[in-house]
């Protein structure tokens, strides 16, 4: 029974998938599925970083802005003649730097993550607008679109990237000291400190990893749009947090998993794709996704209450 309940998000995903296969003939086609994958990959990769942050008991509201700033800085580098690969790394490193700054402010100033990242949400977004004068960057090398739109043997590159990131984050969480410390800090910050764990260092590392993955997501988004948009990623932070939470992550810290987050992100992706296919309006979609978030957390809370 307990195991069944833990599998609930996964089972919901399968039920949702099967229902959509039955409901719409356009769902189970290579084109549609690859578009679902491409659409959700950006949120998915961000959500992986968010998983680590939430497990450590934190939250990062600034990831949407980091995505915008990361994508923009990579695009501006390309516009100025930097080759594609180094430019992509510039975008990723920008994300890393933003995440590091979040972690640094949280641990040095000892301010709640919610407040720090609410502040940097504005700072990073504003910086992107200042850098670009509010204008999108269009002059990108055509080959850059391969990152977001290319495929090998019919498998989109973004899916491969997502799989690589998911495996890496899973190993990080379950098999490294950094991951262990993230769980420890999230479960009980005081006990972690008293066990001699360098809490500030690892907290900063966790936010840096979140920033790095968001930077990568920013470059994918830029490649898909073939534009460096200073306003890209607005509102994505809430989708990333929702994916983690639907997948069983707890905002109290100490709980969450890569598989859960992937399932959470795909549930949201399928809901929005399914609604499009079935002609359900965008307005209704928002209501449905909101309700799913609350339902998922309510079910999870019930499970925990019964066990304790």
């Amino acid at each position: 029974m307990k195991r069944l309940q833990r599998l609930l998000p996964f089972l919901s995903l399968i039920v949702l998938f099967i229902s959509l296969v039955i409901a719409s003939p356009h769902f189970l086609t290579a084109t549609n599925l690859s578009s679902v994958v491409r659409q959700t990959a950006v949120i998915n990769i961000m959500a992986l970083g968010m998983t680590v942050i939430i497990i450590s008991g934190g939250i990062d509201l600034s990831v949407g802005s980091i995505l915008g700033l990361g994508g923009l800085s990579g695009a501006m580098a390309m516009e100025r003649g930097v080759p594609i690969v180094p430019a992509v790394f510039i975008g990723i490193l920008t994300g890393l730097a933003c995440g590091f700054l979040n972690g640094f402010l949280i641990t040095r100033l000892k301010i709640a993550p919610f407040i720090v990242t609410l502040g940097t949400l504005g700072i990073y977004r504003g910086s992107a607008l200042i850098l670009s004068n509010g204008l999108p960057v269009h002059k990108l090398p055509p080959a850059f679109s391969t990152l977001g739109e290319g495929a090998i043997f019919g498998i989109p590159y973004v899916l491969l990237l997502l799989i690589v990131c998911a495996i890496a984050v899973h190993i990080l969480l379950e098999h490294t000291r950094l991951g262990r410390y993230a769980f420890a800090i999230g479960s009980s910050p005081a006990a972690a400190m008293y066990a001699g764990i360098p809490v500030a260092f690892h907290t900063t590392a966790v936010y840096s990893i979140g920033g790095l993955l968001t930077g990568l997501a920013g470059m994918i988004e830029a490649s898909r749009l073939m534009t460096g948009q200073p306003t890209a990623g607005q509102g994505y932070e809430l989708q990333a947090i929702a994916a983690v939470v639907i997948g069983g992550g707890s905002l109290r810290g100490g709980e969450g998993s890569v598989v859960g987050t992937l399932v959470g992100a795909f549930i949201m992706g399928l809901l929005s794709n399914g609604s499009d296919l079935l002609g359900i309006s965008n307005y209704v979609q928002q209501v449905v996704i909101g309700a799913v978030i609350i339902l998922a957390v309510a079910v999870d809370e019930l499970r925990k209450r019964r066990v304790v």
Partner: protein, 501 residues
Amino acid sequence: MLVLLTLTDIQKRYGGVTALRSANLSVAAGEVHLLLGENGAGKSTLMKIVAGLVEPDGGTMLWNGSPVNFKNPADAARIGVAMVHQESLLAPQLTVAENIFLGREERHPLGWVARRRAVEQAARLIEQHHFPLRAEWRVEKLSPAGKQLVEICRAIQHGSSLLIFDEPTSSLSGAETEEVFRIVRTLRERKMGVIYITHRLEELRAIGDRVTILRDGAAVHSGPLQELTTAQIISHMVGRQVAATYSRDAHKPGEPVLQATGLHVKGKLHNVSLTLRAGEITGMAGLMGAGRTELCRALFGVDPLESGTIQLAGKPVRIASPRAAVRAGIALVTEDRQITGLALPLPISVNATMANTEAISTCGFLHLRRQNEIGADYIAKLRIKAQGPKQPAGRLSGGNQQKVVIAKWLFREPRVFLFDEPTRGIDVGAKVEVFDFMHELAGKGAAVLMVSSEIPELLQVADRIVVMRQGRISGELPRGTTPEEIMALATLANSEAETIA
């Protein structure tokens, strides 16, 4: 005698675990009924049922002869049951006065809360009972003992007819314990019923009238206290014979391991010097707020030192954080194991290896199998009652949780062990085991500091006893001293000169 509450054949299961098989209890007005039993015997569960926090799966509950069924704590409170909790259930952000009146604020006709009157009433109540509290203090700043006192005030103020004390004195010092006894006796005279849970066997005779003993979720004995010897009580509790007192040979102290000189922490420690030697258990006594926990925190790098030096094995060290302390070879078993000692949701094996992940990893990658082997090793070695190394630490009873904390430090192999109230809230059997570990550590050459408010325990375990008072070391006594000598130093009744200076 009027019977207030009768419980018959109460049962409660949590998932696959049976907490209560068949518990019976009957409490009369004007008696202090002791509820005894080892940790995990079901005392807390039974009391949660009486207080309406938990609903039973079976059995009957009679209140003044008529059946009752509490759905929530408010039901129980309305009928006249109040509980002083072992773990504080106060709102930490509110003041002492606000907590005392929480949920029962007197109101102005317009719906305002009568704040000033509440503060005045609370102040009067505190003064009546001579508690070291102030009505306007915020509860989060209080020690565990202070919080307990607030809970007692709260229960008294609410004028209940049955009061449950769940180990009220486990975090209190001698004088405060006397005060609690005085309060309990007053309640008895007012014809209230009192259910009193305690692990301190030496307390029983001072206040108890009748006793019910639980073992493995069932009542195994019930009757007047005079008819039982302490040895009989213990054998009912554990189901076998156990020595009531702990005794062992003195250790031969070796070289100094930790030498602290002239430690100052603003407002907490004043010119504290202390030497801990290899192979010696140094006991530390003192009243609540004497600075014993603060000294542990300072030695462990939690609170920064204003001045003073710490030497380890003759070399000066700077301990600016718990990390530095752990690396230098100091371990601290804190008084608050659920907050600072363990990550409760995480498995036993993870908690046991938490302070020494270096030993189970290569280049930052963990060896999970090795971690679980270590967890299983310590479960066997320390006789931790658990389903396995993957069980969350939070599911264990108090004594077993404490053993996991000890396992965490044993795996780190420190040279200096600081134990702050190591036996708080753990049962007789586990206490003896904790003393055995301390004894074994000292035998292997570690320097051990044991802070305790339980003077009999210090006398049984420590090789010498250092006494603190108001942030200073007020004296040192050899093994074989008396409780009176310790209390004299702790209260320093005989030296007014120093207070004036």
